[in-house]
Amino acid sequence: MKDRYDFHVDRVRYLDDHGVPLDTLPDLANHHDRLLAAYANMVLTRTFDNKVIALQRTGQCGTYPSVLGHEVIGTVIGQCMAKSDVLVPYYRDQAAQIQRGVTLTELLLYWGGDERGSAWAHCPQDLPIAVPIATQCCHAVGVASAMRIREQHRAVVCCLGDGASSKGDFLESVNLAGAWHLPVVFVASNNQWAISTPRSLQSGAETIAQKAISGGLPGHVVDGNDYFALTEVLTQALERARAGKGGAVIEAETYRLGDHTTADDATRYRSAEELKRAWEREGVKRMQNYLHQAGLWNAEKEQKLQSECKGFVETAVKAYLASEPEPPTAMMDFLFETLPAALQGQRERLAEKYRQGGVS
């Protein structure tokens, strides 16, 4: 009988705050196309993000959560996942979703108040955004269970925030993942804030990663602005998962550089000082620096990329702004596979009302 049980979580980092390698980089560093594709996705995501905020400010889009500070995490997730894996995103995973095949127009429709924004054609098995925080964690273990039952070599990536890590859904799911050896990797983006609640009030735990221990999973802390570190840790976790060796929890440390959403004003609760320090460590610039140092990037390429991204975004925005809303009757057409008799009268009245152009 033991008289002590030891546990640990590791912390992995390859780049310093400015993109200078702290150590020999993994082989990944030689895959130049992959590095460049990653950087391109980060820039596209940031360009898109800026645009959506502008649309929201001018009344052309709904409340929107900026991805600023999360571009590296999402990009790495998108790159590491196999097509046949399933992404269970949270609402700050635009960078991952774009790579999974969600179109910018779909993202705009979603945040613009249109359900068709979740009817993704290109990643039909990925889960839509679950607005109630952390609830998606249970879906993730359900999807992973289905994979296990069917003996498939697939894995699930389940995303969440630091705030979400306090909620039972996450903790219960981590426990199930451990008990059933499920192929699911939880990626907790610790951006230090849950709206106005700082990480220190969210939990007395030193790390989010250590919550893995409560379910018997391995836990890892990673610098989430370090493309190499996160890619390495996530790749290994996914390989283990697909090979039937169980799941993991990865805490990706970053900082929410924007307001919580366009409805928030972060200056109410956090200091300019803190924000400034976080900008010095942010991941897109860091990746750019790295590419520069590695001789893979220059100002000209940057300009070309920037203008390409602007172009993509403009096209998507046009399509979004040109889209007609669904007819009101759509609200009843997707509730059940077949409209129950009990609801036919209501649907008819709704249709009638709007045939006449609405009554009010």
Binding site: S118, A119, Q125, T135, A140, V141, G142, V143
Partner: protein, 325 residues
């Protein structure tokens, strides 16, 4: 064709469907090795293996949400809540996800799942083991709420619920789990959802009920017949979506209705039925619609639970009221 109890009929339906559709899986607390605390899932693990019949850790929210994740992958999970009193921890997942996944994704993903739970009082159980809160689920768009009241309907409606491509809350009246046996043909034939069942025809008054209260309602109809009052008895069975047509036709004929349910009155499903009938059958009604229900209080522990539950005499009393008018 064998004589089975309601809970055996549940087990038969599960076994049939698991044998014929390998996407059907069962999960819940103690459903595998133990076969469920009411034995509803007994034998399934031995027959279909632990992969398809899963004991979960103790967490209802997790059970509800895991079923959603399984379902969007095309499995057809049948998840058990050990008692309806423990379903509330799972409501977030049921309301926010199971009921909405199809609508949210415009049909891209959907949830062909069943949440089973024994419900209702009268078995001398501890607190929280006697709930009848079907009204909470009936109010949620996107959910079907189905309640069998006989072995045959348990078999046929459970098959229909599993096959239905949308989420179903399937509530089993545990007070009559073993109260009666009935010949049920294990032939895989489902009964229709969204439909009431007229158990007894009559002209003078319509008695509307579901679940275990069907027993007292039928008994009341027998006693009324002895007194020369001809009562129609309707088992609502599909609480939501509600088959108002059948109810309306009956009330149009009888002009009188009494609704019987075990749940407390305020905001119970009886309210929706009464409101719908009073609106649509306004000119047909010859007396107010009376509800015979549990009281608007917490169901007492078992020393006093009978005082809470609607009794045959309460139904007779209500019928007297509406007939006298």
């Amino acid at each position: 064709m064998s004589d089975v109890t309601l809970v055996e009929a549940v087990n038969m339906a599960l076994a049939w469907e698991m044998a014929h559709d390998e996407d059907v899986v069962v999960l819940g607390e103690d459903v595998a090795t133990n076969g469920g605390v009411f034995r509803a899932t007994v034998g399934l693990k031995d027959r279909f293996g632990y992969k398809r019949v899963m004991d979960t850790p103790l967490a209802e929210n997790l059970i509800a949400g895991t079923a959603v994740g399984m379902a969007v992958q095309g499995l057809k999970p049948v998840a058990e809540f050990q008692f309806m009193g423990f379903i509330y921890a799972g409501m977030d997942q049921i309301i926010c996800h199971a009921a909405r996944m199809r609508n949210r994704t415009r049909g891209r993903l959907h949830c062909p799942l069943v949440y089973r739970a024994p419900f209702g009082g009268g078995i001398h159980a501890p607190e929280h083991h006697s709930e009848s809160t079907e009204a909470l689920f009936a109010h949620i768009p996107g959910l079907r709420v189905v309640i069998p009241s006989s072995p045959q309907r348990a078999y046929g409606l459970l098959l229909a619920s599993i096959r239905d491509p949308d989420p179903v809350i399937f509530l089993e009246p545990k007070r009559i789990y073993r109260a009666v046996t009935q010949a049920v043909d294990d032939n895989g034939e489902a009964l229709p959802l969204d439909t009431c069942f007229t158990l007894r025809e009559g002209d003078d008054v319509t008695l509307i009920s579901w679940g275990a209260s069907i027993m007292e309602t039928l008994e009341a109809a027998v006693r009324l017949a002895e007194q020369g009052v001809s009562a129609e008895v309707i088992d609502v069975a599909s609480i939501s979506p509600l088959d108002r047509e059948t109810l309306l036709c009956s009330v149009a004929k009888t002009g009188r209705a009494v609704i019987v349910h075990e749940a407390c009155r305020n905001g119970g499903v009886g309210a929706e039925i009464a409101a719908s009938l009073a609106e649509a059958a306004f000119l047909d009604l010859q007396a107010p619609i009376v509800r015979v229900t549990g009281y608007d209080t917490v169901m007492p522990y078992y020393r006093n639970e009978q005082a809470y539950l609607p009794q045959v005499a309460d139904i007779l009393h209500a019928v007297e009221q509406v007939i006298a008018l």
